[in-house]
């Protein structure tokens, strides 16, 4: 009996391994008119939410282009197929999975979620001669290593806090004179905070404090206690969602009311921010890679507004910028393959390097390190529980509410 069960298990295991192998085989883009892309995404673990949004963005792009017949390369149409693997929100796993994809013949990689995983994957991509379009790794460190095979469609980390400083300098009245910067201690947040401090100084603001706390902290009371007696005009947070919510919650608890208001990079455009904080979230500004007011259009998605409608119809929720980043990365690949007229990794890489296109995500043009350096960041503000775009000014944007009333009067 035992032997039979053991045999059964062996057979099952063998079958299972065959099954998983067949998923990753198939050379990069010749089999039956299909181009195989791979992505290691955080589908479980602490970044699961963002990982799933990224997958939605990739899937939307794939379905959209396949519905049009596929990607046109040298007069022939190829369907897109994307293989996903779960990196469990750990960078090492993301790198291993990308390596395994290479063993399975997948040369074209769509980026994982987040700077840490992207940085780990980029090293492997470079070693293997794969090609990666990064959709969510903004840390400038990724582009400081001389990699030739990684291109990022999103604005780099240095623009996240800087955009809010610029918006405040341009739109706020009275203009904030003193600023405190609170930052998480991961590479991305620190890079953003340092660049923001520099921008604030050159805009004539006085940066009176820069405080750091652990990435993912839900208690930032120490930092707020230190900042409170300085009575600053503006508190800028270079943070993720958890720390952003903690800053607002605990500022309310501790009675920290900056005369101007709060600006919290990526926390604000996440719907959970408003949902969790309710009225306390009102008037907080944040920075976003993309908003439905972003300028530009392309033949696949149309304008940012068309993209919004498309995602709503297909997924039943409003698009978040994570969706848009992912779709934009996929779009950059399609444009490059089309331009290269070949599915040779080297040729697609060169086509990417010289890409210069307008898209629903804004302009895409990579600098020599692979960053999409010229794309402007948008600044958003929560107004009466709704997220509106306030900067850069243009059609569909709203005036900035300034200064922010104290908690309790919002």
């Amino acid at each position: 009996m035992r032997i039979r069960i053991a045999l059964g298990l062996v057979v099952l295991l063998a079958l299972a391994s065959c099954g998983s192998e067949s998923k990753v085989t198939g050379a990069g883009g010749t089999a039956a008119g299909t181009i195989k892309l791979g992505a290691a995404l955080s589908l479980t673990g602490k970044l699961a939410r963002e990982g799933i949004l990224t997958r939605e963005g990739y899937d939307y792009c794939r379905d959209k282009v396949n519905a049009q017949g596929g990607v046109k390369v040298a007069g022939k149409f190829y369907k897109l197929a994307i293989t996903y693997q779960d990196d469990k929100s750990t960078p090492d796993t993301a790198a291993q999975l990308v390596d395994q994809m290479n063993d399975g013949g997948i040369k074209f990689i769509l980026g994982p979620y987040g700077s840490a995983s992207t940085e780990a994957a980029a090293a492997v991509v470079e070693k293997n001669g794969q090609l990666m379009i990064d959709s969510a790794g903004a840390d400038n460190a990724i582009f400081a290593k001389g990699y030739k095979q990684t291109f990022a469609v999103l604005s780099p980390a240095t623009t996240y806090v800087t955009a809010m400083v610029k918006a405040a300098a341009e739109l706020a009245s009275p203009k904030p004179k003193t600023v405190a910067i609170l930052s998480a201690d991961d590479g991305f947040s620190k890079t953003a905070a340092e660049a923001g401090a520099k921008a604030a100084r050159s805009a004539g603001m006085n940066v009176v404090a820069t405080e750091f706390f652990p990435n993912g902290a839900t208690d930032v009371s120490s930092e707020l206690t230190k900042v409170k007696p300085k009575h600053v005009d503006l508190i800028l947070g270079s943070v993720h969602l958890a720390e952003g919510i903690a800053i607002i919650k605990q500022s309310q608890e501790l009675g920290v009311n900056p005369k101007g208001g709060f600006g919290l990079t990526v926390a604000v455009p996440t719907p959970t921010f408003v949902k969790t904080l309710g009225k306390a979230a009102n008037d907080v500004i944040g920075s976003s890679q993309w908003t439905p007011q972003t300028k530009g259009r392309d033949s696949l998605f149309g304008s940012a507004e068309d993209y919004t409608t498309g995602i709503r119809t297909k997924l039943g929720h409003a698009p978040e910028y994570h969706n848009a980043e992912a779709s934009a990365a996929c779009l950059a690949f399609i444009e490059a393959a089309n331009k290269a007229g070949s599915l040779d990794v080297g040729k697609v890489r060169d086509a990417l390097a010289s890409l210069d296109v307008d898209t629903f995500f804004g302009h895409i043009k990579f600098d020599s390190t692979g960053k999409n350096a010229d794309k402007p960041m948008s600044v958003v503000q929560v107004q009466n529980g709704q997220l509106v775009t306030v900067w850069p000014k243009g059609p569909g944007t709203k005036p900035l509410v300034w200064p922010t009333p104290a908690f309790g009067r919002r």
């Binding site: 479980t44 673990g45 602490k46 970044l47 699961a48 939410r49 799933i52 929100s89 201690d185 405080e211 750091f212 706390f213 652990p214 902290a217 839900t218 208690d219 930032v220 009371s221 120490s222 930092e223 206690t225 230190k226 409170k228 007696p229 969602l241 958890a242 919510i245 903690a246 919650k249 309310q252 608890e253 501790l254 009675g255 959970t272 969790t276 904080l277 309710g278 306390a280 908690f407 309790g408």
Partner: protein, 294 residues
């Protein structure tokens, strides 16, 4: 000075929440010699029950807390009775493995059901507060503080004054003799585990009220419970409370004078220091050392 006072008060309020997480953890460890690595996951589950009660029925988290505690008591009872009892005599690493597996399972089920999002239970009062001079005291945290101390006191009274409590302590001291005295050890273990899970759930509801929670945060809660349980002395309810308050205050002071990124180094530094000076923990007594393991 004002800043120091503010940090101290807030640190103690925060510490009382840490303490409440750790009380149940310490109880299970002290009585059953099980380091329950899934304890943090129970806290998060409790928070979700209270959140659901709030969203569906509009219940205040302080009432949701009771529902969460009852639900998790049943859950904890069954987990111990059906699962952990299987390995309770096995070497410690077996129980570590099992509870670690349980943690992974619970956390990933929560992510699958509720997503990895940060959640919070909204109330009209939790974030408001009053000022004592220059020190600000938020209502939500004050309520949590009072409840943490009340619950710890209630648990201590339960352990000392009731027959069930005494049976739990007796079983913790010497399982074989307890059995000879007619105590149903299986049931007592399950009740103990249930109480720990209920306390964890109550604390989860409070954390949801004053802060935020998400399933992947479970590990950090377990780790902190571990530090506090060892700091305070195993199996001692008041020890866990003292350990939690101490840790909260030390972390707050550390945050004022050092960089906030050192917070974990501070926690473990305190732990090492206390263990060097007092290996039995702050309030640990030779009482538990006398326990006979059979």
């Amino acid at each position: 000075m004002a800043q120091f006072l503010q940090a101290t008060v807030y640190g103690l309020l925060q510490g009382s929440l840490y303490a409440l997480v750790a009380v149940g953890f310490s109880l299970v460890w002290g009585v059953m010699n099980i380091v329950n690595l899934a304890h943090g996951a129970f806290v998060i589950m409790g928070a979700y029950v209270a959140l659901e009660a709030n969203l569906t029925f509009g219940l205040d988290p302080l009432i949701g807390m009771l529902i969460a505690a009852m639900a998790l008591f049943v859950f904890g009872y069954l987990v111990q009775r059906l699962l952990i009892n299987l390995v309770v005599n096995a070497p410690i690493w077996m129980t570590l493995l099992l509870t670690f597996g349980l943690e992974l399972f619970c956390v990933n089920v929560l992510i699958a059901v509720a997503t990895g999002d940060y959640r919070s239970i909204a109330t009209s009062y939790a974030a408001r507060g009053f000022s004592m001079g220059s020190v600000r005291v938020p209502y939500g945290r004050l309520i949590s503080f009072v409840l943490a101390i009340t619950l710890t006191a209630a648990l201590a009274a339960f352990m000392n004054r009731t027959r069930t409590g005494q049976a739990i302590r007796a079983t913790g001291m010497d399982r074989v003799t307890a059995r000879l005295m007619g105590i149903n050890v299986r049931n007592i273990y399950a009740v103990t585990f249930g109480i720990a899970a209920a306390l964890a759930a109550a604390c989860g509801a409070l954390i949801g009220m004053v802060g935020t929670f998400s399933p992947p945060g479970a590990g950090a809660l377990t780790l902190r419970s571990f530090v506090i349980a060892v700091l305070g002395g195993l199996g001692n309810m008041w020890g866990a409370l003292a350990g939690g308050l101490l840790l909260g205050a030390v972390e707050a002071w550390g945050g004022q004078y050092l960089s906030g990124t050192l917070v974990n180094a501070i926690s473990f530094g305190v732990l090492i220091l206390v263990l060097i000076v007092r290996p039995t923990g702050l309030l640990g007594r030779p009482f538990y050392e006398a326990r006979v393991e059979v």
